[in-house]
Each structure stands twice: as structure tokens, then as C-alpha cells.
Symmetry: C2
Subunit: 380 residues, 2 copies
């Protein structure tokens, strides 16, 4: 096991009717800017619950943080928050709203342009934030990370700051999610977990078990949440799995990879493809190309997650990769670039970008431009 | 899944050589009282590492917090801490030293006697504490609980306050632990996990998987840590499992039980038996007596943790209970009261105490004096 430091101070407030507790979670007398996405919260009842809970708090609303939040939009929020004198930000929405709000919270305390902070990659002076989550997927509600896009230049980069002070997770807020968003949320959570798991074997028995436990849960619940997104207990397991998938709880003392994510971000930047949907395509390529490097762990994954115990090693690895691709297909997601009409031009551009920033991603630092090309060609 | 609130702010600093980071974890200029147990830290090198890291900090040492920390001892520490003007407490030792230090930290801020706080059960005004853990078992290094004894009256009660600010876990500090302490630590961790798991089935898929993952890890590593406590990676897995077993991470949204612990505490109070050793005895009785109530979960546990898939339900439950008892035996621990010469007199006293405080412990609140007697008679 590697040495590590772990700390996650976010207060998780989970369950039915918990949005009503907002007033007690917010600092007394806070001036709040509430940030939203495109308006789904007005249809699922979350907006009304938030407004009721905010009675008595001075607050302003910022609307329009888009999927893959853009610095161009967030700059407007920074201006509004400063003008209002907000000393607390409340993000109400999915991972994009929360990610965007993390950059707003830092940029409100920074003199220069918000994109400079994204380029720095970290900024620790922030307005505190809380969240009301509506879409299980990114884990942003309980981690310090964000991914910010810049439409002018088709860039998408990670940014780190502080954890939310609190996050309210009411599974009932997910009941009205469109099937595709749920599918992408499952894929996103699945790949978050394997980015922290599918590395060299034998690093931590307990972390392996916990990662496998989330994967098993996702596989078990996927058919149910896709056919009935109003079953409370199943949506609760989905929501909890998504949060636990990227809050540091399964990353203690183990190597992480994240090459699939870095390639996926480029596909989103170039084609506006939803994050989870990019991962469902790229991950199969990653497994095929890095099959030797990840051999022991793919075998363990096949056995423990998919019950693949028969046959020689090569056929078990083949089966594990096939089952993974079938799982993403079963969610109704594409697993090949061609299904999304993405071809050589994008592969070349991603190779060029990786080379331009001298990329060395992945657990072994060997995912450079040439390797990214191989991975993308393996999922054409 | 039940509604829940989760927050665990402790910073975990894990790995080789991490005690040297103490100076950066402590508040600048802190006046520190360092609390110790009986002196094993002088033999395993931890004391020297702590002293080196504390160079430049004003500090005093309090020695002699015993296993099952006694309020009689802790009162002396409170007086010493107040006289020194300590504004930070550093607990260096196992769960008893950390538990005791939690009461010291509260009692230093309280005018009355420390035992009054234990009777209240919670006190939130405290001197902040950090820990250097030497014995994986109680999870106290990453939770807000403590168990305090009062020798004058043979009482042992739980007490709650704040989480440690930080805890340093260096697996090398466990290399010199006596085999029996390791065995009791494994039993303690195992029963912590089942107290949060062996309740009604179907509450949370992901919490079930995580609890089962810790149990599987303990079963896998037990033979190794008992024969060679100097294998770093195995001891690291043991240490991490013990912390994860009682830091709230596997308790989200699920019922808890703790009846076995409440009975075990009485055995310790009456017979000075090590905490983990009491659990290894009582838990078998709990499973036998509450077999019907816990039927579904025992079957799930048998299948997932022990691989028991053959036979009818009754024989699978029998096998799961038998494997559990065999596991504790394999640690070299007693699994029957008679092995520790504990008989009817103690059973009657525990029944009397449970009745005297109108006890209704366990997930269903049905473990009263009469049920405690049944459980104890089932592990005679």
C-alpha cells in the first residue's frame, strides 16, 4: 500500500425530504447566490423545495450553467455573485452545476480571469459552497474537483479547490431524470471506480473489495433504474454509489489511472458528447490496449465482478473486456467511435493535443499521444 | 435506505515514516499534552519518533492510560492538562489511549467530574486532539466515540464527543504487537463490521458490499498477520480495515445493532476480559439466539463472505454460524464463556444490570435482560 493522506469534510445529508433542512445547514445570515442549470429543477419540484427552505435568507439566483460548464458562462456568475456580495454559494443541480460553482467560488476571490485559475489547476481561496444534488454521476458533491470547458478554444480541463461544506442528496430528486442521463451517470460512476481500481494488483485488499462492491452494485441496479427510476431504494443505491465512487473513499493507498477520462474529455471538447457517453466508448479501448499492463487486475475484476472463473487467462481476459462493453451497450450507450460518427480527424487532433502538452497520463504515465491514438483506434 | 447524515472530518495520514509529519499537523505554537499507555511505545520506536517530531513544541507527557481506560486514571490527566494549560492533546497508543484522551479533552472544558460527562453520554466542548495509532482495533482514531470504565463500580459506558483532527497510522508501529493483541484487534474489527451489517437485509446494496469487503479482507489476512506481523502490506490492510470498520463509512443509511458490544462491555467490566475477546465469545450467542430475526442477512453473509451456497436454508445458516465461531477460534480466542471460567453468577448480574437500566439494545430494541441471558446461555 502506498502512503496517503485522506480527508473529506463534506457533510452528507441523505434521504427523503432533506432539502427542507437547508436553512439549518446554511450559515446564519448568509447572503447566498443559488446556481442552477437549465431548468429541470422547476419540473421535478426541487426548485420549490429549495425556495421554501431559503425563506428568510437574502439570495440571488444564477441560471444557465450548462452541461460541461463553460468559463464563458461562469464569468457572468462571478460578476453577479460579486455584485450581490454573496458569501455562500448553493449549487442546485447535477455535476456540471456543482463543478461550475466550484470555479465561481474560487474566481469570486481572485482578481484575474477565471480561466487563469483553471490553467493553474488549483486555487484554495474560495467562497464556501453547499449543494443540492439532482443527478448521480460525477461525485462532485463530495470531492474537491471540477472539470471546466472553454468553448472559444474547445478545451476541457480539471480544476481543484475545496470540498462542499454540505451536500443534500434526496433520491426522489432523481425520479424524473431522462433515461439517457441515468445511463450516462451509471457509466460515469463505473469508470470513476475503475480509474481507481484497474491498476496493478495487490495494492490494498480492502480498497479492491470496496471498488468491486460499487461495480457489483451498479451492475445489479442498472436494469432496474433504467426501467423504473421511481423505485426509491434502487435510486438511493445509485445515488450513494455515485457519491462513493469519487470521494476518495476507494482511492486510499492505491495507484490511480484517469487516462480514459483525459481522452474522454477531449471527445467532449471536440464533439460535445456527454461525459459518461465518452467513457463508455473509450474504456473498452483502454482495456484492450493496456491489457498486458493490467493483466492481473483484469483477471481479478473478471472473477470477482463478473464471475468469470472458467478457461485460460487469455479467454478470461477476453470475456471480462467483452462483458464490460456489453454492460455499457445494455445501458443504451455507444461503445464505438463510429456509432457517434467520430473518425480519424478527431483521433489525429487528440493525438496532436496530447503531444502538444507532453501528456503522460495513466497509472504508468505511458498514455501519450501515440498511446491515445492506439486506444481510440481500438474502439473505432 | 434510511435517511442519514454523514460527516467525518478526521485527516488520515497513513504510511511509513508519517509520524515525522506531526510537526506540520499540529497547530503552530500549540501547548500539547501527550497521552500514553503503559510503555510499549518505548519499545517499538514510536515514542522516539514522536519526541523527535515534537521538538520545538511545549509539551507534557501523561503516562498510564490502561486498557479499558478508567475515569479514575483520566481524572489525573485532566488535572495535569489543566495545570499545564494544554490546548492540544496528542494520544499515542491504541484505542484505549485514544478513548481515554477523548474524555480528557471534554473534561478539561467541564467544571464538574469527568464521570458526569460519561453519564451524559455526549459533550461537545473539547480541547482538540490528534492521534498516533499503534494498535488496529477500535476505530477510535477516526470516530467520535469512546468507551470509559469506572473501576469503583465495575461500570463501562460509551461516550461521544468530537473526531480527532488528524490520525497518523504507520503500519510499522504494529510490527511488534503481541499475537493476542492482534487477535483481539481482528475480532474487534470483525464484530464492529457485523454490528453495522448483520441486521435486516436489503437496506443498502453498496453498504452491504463494503461491510462484506472488510470481513473478507480480515478472513484473508488473519492467518498472515498472526504468523508474521512484520509484513508491511498485510499489516497495512489490517490497519486500514480496522479504521474503516468503525468510522461511519459502512453505516450510511442502514440499521445498526450493537447488542453484542453492550453485553461484551459488561463482561469486561466484570472480568477485565479484553474487549475483542468478549466479542469473540458473545457474537456466536447473538447469532444463535437472533437467528430468525437475522435469517436473510445470515444467509447473505454465509454466501458472500464464506461461500456457503449448498444445502437448504437451515443448514446454510448453521454453517455460517459455525464458520464464524471457527474463525474466532482460529485466532486463538475463546468462543465460550466456560473457557474463561465465566458462569451463572455473571449471567445473572448482566441480566440484572440490563433490567436495572431498562435496556432495549439491538436493531429491534429487543435485547433486554432476558434476551441477554439467552445470548449468554447460548455461548456458555
Amino acid at each position: 500500500m502506498k502512503n496517503f493522506v485522506f480527508q473529506n469534510p463534506t457533510k452528507l445529508v441523505f434521504g427523503r425530504g432533506q432539502i427542507a433542512r437547508l436553512g439549518k445547514l446554511l450559515p446564519a445570515g448568509a447572503r447566498i447566490m443559488v446556481t442552477f442549470g437549465g431548468g429541470s429543477v422547476k419540473r421535478n419540484g426541487v426548485y420549490d423545495q429549495v425556495k421554501a427552505a431559503l425563506a428568510g435568507f437574502e439570495h440571488t439566483e444564477f441560471w444557465g450553467i450548462e452541461p460541461n460548464p463553460a468559463v464563458e458562462t461562469l464569468r457572468k456568475a462571478v460578476a453577479q455573485g460579486k455584485e450581490f456580495g454573496a458569501d455562500f454559494l448553493l449549487a442546485v443541480g447535477g455535476g456540471s452545476v456543482i463543478d461550475g460553482t466550484k470555479l465561481i467560488s474560487a474566481a469570486m476571490c481572485y482578481e484575474g480571469d477565471a480561466w487563469e485559475l483553471v490553467q493553474k489547476g488549483y486555487y484554495g481561496t474560495t467562497v464556501p459552497i453547499g449543494t443540492v444534488l439532482t443527478l448521480p454521476a460525477t461525485g462532485s458533491e463530495m470531492n474537491s474537483g471540477a472539470v471546466i470547458s472553454r468553448y472559444e478554444t474547445h478545451e476541457k480541463l480539471p480544476f481543484y479547490s475545496h470540498h462542499p461544506r454540505f451536500s443534500i442528496l434526496d433520491p426522489e430528486a432523481t425520479f424524473t431524470l431522462p433515461r439517457r442521463q441515468i445511463a450516462c451517470g451509471i457509466a460515469d460512476t463505473f469508470v470513476h471506480v475503475v480509474e481507481q481500481y484497474m491498476t496493478s494488483a495487490g495494492q490494498s485488499r480492502v480498497m479492491d473489495r470496496w471498488a468491486e462492491g460499487i461495480l457489483q452494485t451498479l451492475i445489479e441496479i442498472a436494469p432496474k433504474v433504467l426501467t423504473d427510476s421511481t423505485d426509491y431504494d434502487t435510486m438511493a443505491d445509485f445515488m450513494l454509489s455515485a457519491t462513493m465512487g469519487l470521494n476518495g473513499f476507494i482511492a486510499m493507498g492505491v495507484n490511480e489511472d484517469w487516462a480514459t477520462h483525459m481522452i474522454g474529455h477531449e471527445l467532449t471538447a471536440l464533439h460535445s458528447l456527454t461525459h459518461g457517453a465518452t467513457l463508455a466508448i473509450v474504456y473498452n479501448g483502454t482495456l484492450r490496449v493496456l491489457r498486458e499492463q493490467k493483466r492481473s487486475k483484469i483477471l481479478q475484476y473478471g472473477e470477482r465482478v463478473w464471475g468469470i472463473c472458467e478457461g485460460d487467462e487469455e479467454s478470461r481476459i477476453d470475456a471480462a473486456i467483452a462483458r464490460t462493453e456489453e454492460f455499457f451497450s445494455s445501458l443504451g450507450l455507444s461503445t464505438r467511435l463510429s456509432q457517434e460518427n467520430i473518425g480519424e480527424e478527431s483521433i489525429a487532433e487528440i493525438e496532436r493535443r496530447f503531444n502538444a502538452c507532453d501528456a503522460h497520463y495513466g497509472e504508468c504515465g505511458n498514455v501519450d499521444g501515440a498511446m491515445a491514438r492506439k486506444i481510440l483506434e481500438a474502439c473505432k
